[in-house]
């Protein structure tokens, strides 16, 4: 077959008008510079703002700092003016604004707000006083913007900020004084946060509050959970316990995601399950000793290939689309 569109037209699967358009695209009569120009613009904005920001920071005295804070504030206000102009009213469903640069604008304004917050804090020496609150404040700003204007990138940043705030406030280091407080382990927080995020994703999905945010929540949640388990497995006094928990939960999630066909999570779960299983088998064999280690040579080929063969026989379950 040489020309798909011609073939489709011949089979009467597309009409003449569509064929004309597609033919013009294929034979290079029409060319779209959509991606190229966007990329150029994006790069331009990136270079320009970073250059300008650095320049201002280097060259301004005290008045300059207040001036630039004011400028950022003005930029935020102007940004909000446009956001208000184009935004659609809040809805718990998915809201799509068709203006092409709306997403960039949202991102820019949110980041400017956080930048201003940080700027004020550093300039007025409030870091020590506000340290714990800033990250929660950033989280609040980002999450508000994400939910109000329906933006997944902002949601992802909000979740990251939240993870940072929680991790920060319970972490073993007293950040302000630079002291090391030998307390609990971070991976426990990671595990709990992961579970909370997964639950939030599930709950909001069921309640139809921005149901399409589920993936973002659960992606972060599952990653945090697994990484927490894996680091609990790597150090600490309860290695085997964590391995066992990981094995069971990853196995269960593998089964569940297999049923719901969420293949990214299936991938994570499978790999984690495999790691945990391998770890247990290896420690078991070393425990037994007596030359049973020779079995390890066969372990990887046998398990991997058997599992692949098993999965392949379930072909129809995950054909593309």
């Amino acid at each position: 077959m040489e020309n798909i569109y011609k073939q489709l037209f011949k089979d009467k699967l597309i009409n003449e008008k569509q064929h004309e358009l597609l033919d013009a695209i294929q034979s290079n009569k029409i060319i779209s510079l959509y991606y190229e120009l966007r990329l150029t613009l994006y790069l331009g904005i990136l270079l320009f703002t970073s250059g300008l920001g650095y320049f201002a920071y280097q060259n301004l005295g005290n008045i300059g700092h207040i001036l630039s804070m004011l400028l950022i504030a003005i930029a935020i206000v102007v940004g909000f003016f446009f956001i208000k102009k184009y935004a659609l009213p809040y809805s718990s469903e998915k809201v799509t604004v068709t203006k092409p640069f709306f997403d960039y604008l949202l991102l820019l304004v949110s980041l400017l707000m956080i930048a201003l917050l940080t700027y004020i804090q550093v300039y007025f020496d409030l870091v020590e006083l506000l340290l714990y609150w800033t990250s929660y404040l950033s989280t609040a700003i980002l999450l508000f913007m994400a939910y109000r204007y329906d933006n997944k990138a902002l949601l992802a940043m909000g979740i990251t900020a939240f993870a940072a705030s929680v991790g920060l406030s319970i972490s073993p280091v007293n950040w302000i004084r630079g002291e090391w407080v030998p307390t609990s382990s971070l991976y426990l927080i990671s595990i709990f946060l992961g579970i909370v995020l997964i639950a939030v994703g599930q709950y909001t999905h069921q309640q139809h509050i921005k149901a399409h945010f589920k993936f973002t929540y659960q992606n972060f949640g599952i990653l945090l959970y697994y990484i927490g388990c894996l680091s609990g497995m790597a150090d600490g006094d309860f290695q085997h316990l964590f391995t066992f928990i990981l094995l069971v939960s990853a196995g269960a999630l593998s089964y569940y995601t297999w049923q719901t066909k969420e293949f990214l999570f299936f991938l994570y779960s499978n790999l984690c399950c495999f790691i945990a299983f391998t770890y247990l088998i290896f420690s078991l064999l070393f425990e037994i000793g007596n030359g049973s280690e020779i079995l390890l040579v066969y372990y990887f080929p046998v398990t991997c290939i058997t599992y692949i063969v098993l999965l392949i026989t379930k072909k129809s379950h995950f054909t593309n689309d």
Binding site: L13, Q18, S50, A56, K152, L224, Y307, L311, I312
Partner: protein, 393 residues
């Protein structure tokens, strides 16, 4: 003819291709849902390619499984303690892997881009290559030659794009080795030889494209041409030529000194991107335009590296302003279609996948900190050092 060379079933492959294209059309809102469903019914393909994540899973597990197969295999050969025994073992493992992949997976079970096939092909060919090349008595020319043949084989028979890339790398290595083994004055001509060869490759592919019109090779031509153009540019780039001359040919250069024929390479660095863009606009080839844009960026960096004004921040700001202006003017100019150029989004780009983009965006836009180390970044998302306008999105 093609049926013999390509391992896959051509008719099914074509159907698959039609489906992919039609799905893109549906997603780009060119055809209606009803039309897409009709196409989907008629062009259902028997080929088995799972979704991308399953593909990754299959690939990783198969790779681990197959590459450790040599462990148990070597236990069989452990008594014959010699180099050639291991070589034979590797060779046999490789050949059997290839045979299984080809006959059982591809021919019998219609696997296509399933992750298992790729892993099988890569490990199989690597095993064969290790089996053939182990030992240190071989001429250096043989390594790239074997690599070239093997990757070209995989690129053509299994339509593998990664193998096509490897083919280009091995071709470059081969030329390099060849020139060095001849030695003498010809070494100094290395950049020109590279340019000649890869320029030839580009036009060769263009010729071939007219002969070999089947759509299953479409992506090969796009990738091949892009790689040829990029290599052509890189072989003439001043920075690359200078650094490689110092590194590989032991040229002694002070920081201010120029390499021989410096003006020529400066010329190439400036002119090649412009030529790409010119012909891209003239022949309306998006491939040339994209390659041109990329090489322009590389050229700017190259020239700034040698002719810096000492004010990098000013340069960044100015170039940002220039880029914004150009993009803005072009967007405005092309609001109406001029000469077939438009800024409207006609079709979704076939090289970008929605799912992957979402994940990449999630990972890259999610602030500087990774989710798994929640304690390290105090000023998450906000800029501490930048201070001024939002520089970090």
């Amino acid at each position: 003819m093609i049926n013999k060379i390509v391992a896959y079933n051509i008719a099914e492959l074509e159907k698959k291709k039609v489906l992919t294209k039609a799905k893109n059309l549906y997603k780009s809102k060119v055809i209606s849902q009803e039309q897409w469903q009709n196409i989907n019914i008629i062009y259902t393909s028997k080929l088995y390619s799972p979704s991308i994540f399953i593909r990754v899973l299959f690939f990783i597990l198969t790779l681990i499984g197959l590459s450790t197969v040599s462990g148990p295999m070597s236990l069989i050969f452990i008594d014959i303690n010699s180099q050639s025994a291991i070589q034979i073992m590797l060779f046999i493992t490789g050949v059997s892997t290839m045979v299984i992949t080809d006959l059982v997976l591809i021919k019998k079970n219609n696997h296509y881009l399933s992750g298992v096939t790729e892993a099988g092909i890569y490990t199989g060919l690597s095993f064969i290559a290790f089996g053939l090349l182990a030992g240190d008595h071989i001429n250096m020319l043989v390594y790239p030659l074997v690599g070239l043949l093997f990757s070209a084989f995989a690129a053509i028979r299994y339509l593998n794009l990664l193998a096509l890339m490897a083919t280009f790398i091995f071709l470059g290595w081969f030329i390099f080795q060849l020139v060095f083994s001849i030695g003498g004055t010809i070494e100094a001509l290395l950049p020109f030889i590279f340019m000649l060869v890869f320029g030839g490759v580009y036009f060769g592919i263009k010729k071939l494209k007219i002969k070999l019109t089947n759509i299953i090779f479409e992506n090969h031509f796009i990738l091949g041409q892009t790689l040829a153009l990029l290599t052509f540019y890189i072989s003439g780039n001043y920075f690359v030529v200078r650094e490689l001359s110092i590194e590989l040919m032991g040229l002694n250069l002070a920081a201010q000194d120029d390499i021989p024929f410096a003006f020529l390479f400066y010329g190439f660095t400036v002119l090649i991107p412009i030529t790409y863009i010119y012909f891209g606009v003239k022949h309306k080839s998006i491939l040339l335009i994209r390659t041109g844009l990329l090489t322009i960026a590389l050229s700017v960096i190259t020239l700034k590296y040698y002719f810096s004004l000492g004010m990098p921040m000013l340069t960044i700001t100015l170039s940002g302003a220039i880029l914004i202006t150009i993009a803005f003017l072009l967007v405005n100019y092309l609001k109406q279609m001029h000469n077939g150029f438009t800024t409207a989004k006609l079709l979704n780009d076939q090289w970008s996948s929605q799912n992957l983009t979402a994940i990449v965006a999630n990972q890259t836009l999610g602030g500087n900190n990774l989710p798994e180390t929640p304690n390290e970044d105090i000023f998450n998302g906000g800029e501490f050092g930048g201070g001024g306008a939002g520089s970090n999105f």
